[in-house]
Amino acid sequence: MGGKSKNWIWLVVVFIILMIYPIIFTKPFPRHLLIMIFLYGSMGLAWNIIGGYAGQISLGHAIFFGTGAYTSTLMLMKLGISPWLGMLAGGAVSIGIAFIIGYPCFKLAGHYFAIATIAIGEIAMVCMLNWDWAGSAVGLTLPILPEGFINMEFHTTKAPYYYIAFGFLIVAVLITYGVDRSKLGYYFKAIKGDLDGARSLGINTGRYKFYALALSAFLTSICGSFYAQYVLFIDPDSTFPLILSIILCLVATLGGVGTVWGPVIGAAILIPISEFTRIQFGGGGKGTDLIIYGFLIMIISIYQPFGVIGLAKRFKKKESP
């Protein structure tokens, strides 16, 4: 029990540090960095529910991100509806899309599922590039509205974005924690571990895979809406690309697939690396940052396939045989 209460103390300490962080760091960049970590951490957690717990490797999660970004933006621009409502609507649309994708795709195993999700992601990309009403390839620039919580636009400071993103991360962690400890989580793990075994025990595997995907899609979509409000410009290349889906997968893998804290740790490691290489080497349009990034992805996956949490566990086992 001693170990558990120690963990709680650590969590509280980290929470307090993160709460006062924007007060200490008033410059935009440190805040931006943390916002990105929160955003990708939340999405990594979302991906983790379907990819980590239920074991269905989706490489098309950008669809849900893009759906969230576009739904809330279009509702704001065409109907003048608050992004908060648009965010929920985007989540609902994403669940619908999750159903359309999941119904046929869940019959596919392993690589076939992964490639089917890539294919669907690319179809979505092509459609968005050619859909004039939704801005097509030019993208959408969000209208500049008066600052405020209801409009979810803040022009003078990034601090409110920071707290909103932090809130999302906490919600995502709590949801994952809930899944991890509930019957649902055991069903997911059973599906991942042995599909036929799970089926023979009476688990409706199709339904539970759909639950996992829907939950994952909803969370990813919310992050997409937030991203649109944060950057105030969206286009298909920034919201629907395959690389985004891969990064979500990577964030979860780097930290530890199928664990509560894995994706958060993964984002906390990967996002600073990517932001710093972008700043250091990103200039001049030569893509040096992406060379380093690709190289790191490769090295991490080769040497750390079980993530930081896997490494820590192995280390612990060695210490106490």
Binding site: G51, I57, L59, P104, K107, L108, A109, G110, H111, Y112, A114, I115, A116, I118, A119, I120, E122, I123, V126, C127, L129, N130, I243, I246, C249, L250, T253, V257, G285, K286, G287, T288, L290, I291, Y293, G294, F295, L296, I297, M298, I299, I300, S301, I302, Y303, P305
Partner: protein, 295 residues
């Protein structure tokens, strides 16, 4: 290809289908490398398109620096790509043999990003063409016009394909490859060095790309991101044909070529890849293991 539906005559449709088949042969050759690697060791190479890009650049630089026509630099291209394939196996893939599916995806994807932007860094993102290659111009047969480079490319692809099929199914080394793909442990016990076989598989898979890349450099733009759409098509072709089935990926390649060209003509060029993916999805939903899949 931009002709409206009012101009739709049987000739144009036939023309489009033939162009689709010619392109499909190249897709098939690109896909077969992926298919071979998968059949051998159950790894999907997500850097496949980038290796094709390297092949096209090899051919381009042989032309730009030493004035060797792509047709003549084809063997060179094949050898260089073979070596790249073997190197990739020993540097990256060997460490992933026992890794999870996820780690394999990410590692090869990372390799792809690395190669793509390395090429962009060294050679800039410009679009390049090979000017006045030996193979150029059109040939007309009964009102159907076919580009000579495309025609030669598809014929060479078919020849390569037949050679590959013969190599795998009729030679001793081919048997060893097949045995390793059937059962790695048993093959090891029979004295087949599975690492050698895997390296050979990667080499041959990449050499196929060398052939395809050299032939394509005659009529296709050469730029660092060229691989992306080809790799997507190659995954789809392999999954459509069924992972591990070499004839399957050949036929799937041709189906994809035809679908791409025909929907580009009948519906809209912008959506042609979307239709390729839709056809793929429809097939896998009906037959989850692909058309000729073993699993």
């Amino acid at each position: 290809m931009q002709k409206g539906t009012s101009m739709l005559t049987p000739d144009i449709i036939l023309q489009t289908v033939i162009s689709g088949i010619l392109m499909g042969c190249i897709y098939a050759l690109v896909a077969v490398g992926l298919c071979l690697i998968w059949g051998l060791m159950e790894i999907v190479n997500f850097a496949h398109g980038e290796m094709l890009m390297l092949a096209m650049f090899t051919s381009f630089w042989a032309f730009a620096l030493y004035h060797i026509d792509p047709l003549l630099s084809l063997p060179l291209c094949m050898i260089i790509l073979f070596l790249i394939g073997v190197a990739v196996y020993f540097i990256v893939i060997r460490k992933l043999l026992k890794a999870t599916f996820l780690a394999q995806i990410l590692a090869t994807f990372g390799l792809g990003i690395f190669l793509r932007y390395l090429a962009q860094f060294m050679w800039s993102p410009d679009f390049r063409v090979i000017k006045n290659p030996i193979l150029s111009g059109n040939i007309g047969i009964g009102g159907i016009f076919v580009g000579i480079p495309q025609l030669v490319a598809s014929i060479c692809c078919i020849i390569t394909f037949v050679l590959l099929y013969w190599f795998i199914n009729k030679t001793e080394v081919g048997f060893a490859l097949l045995a390793t793909s059937e059962d790695r442990e048993a093959a090891n016990l029979m004295g087949i060095n599975s690492h050698k076989m895997f390296a050979l598989g990667w080499g041959i898979g990449a050499a196929c790309l060398g052939v395809a890349g050299a032939l394509m450099s005659n009529f296709y733009y050469i730029f660092p991101e060229v691989g992306f759409s080809f790799s997507l098509i190659a995954y789809v072709a392999v999954a459509l044909g069924g992972f591990g089935s070499i004839p399957g990926s050949f036929i799937a390649g041709i189906i994809i070529g035809v679908v791409e060209f025909v929907t580009g003509l009948l519906i809209a060029p912008a959506f042609k890849y979307a239709f390729v993916f839709i056809i793929y999805l429809l097939v896998v939903f009906i037959r989850p293991q692909g058309l000729w899949g073993r699993y």
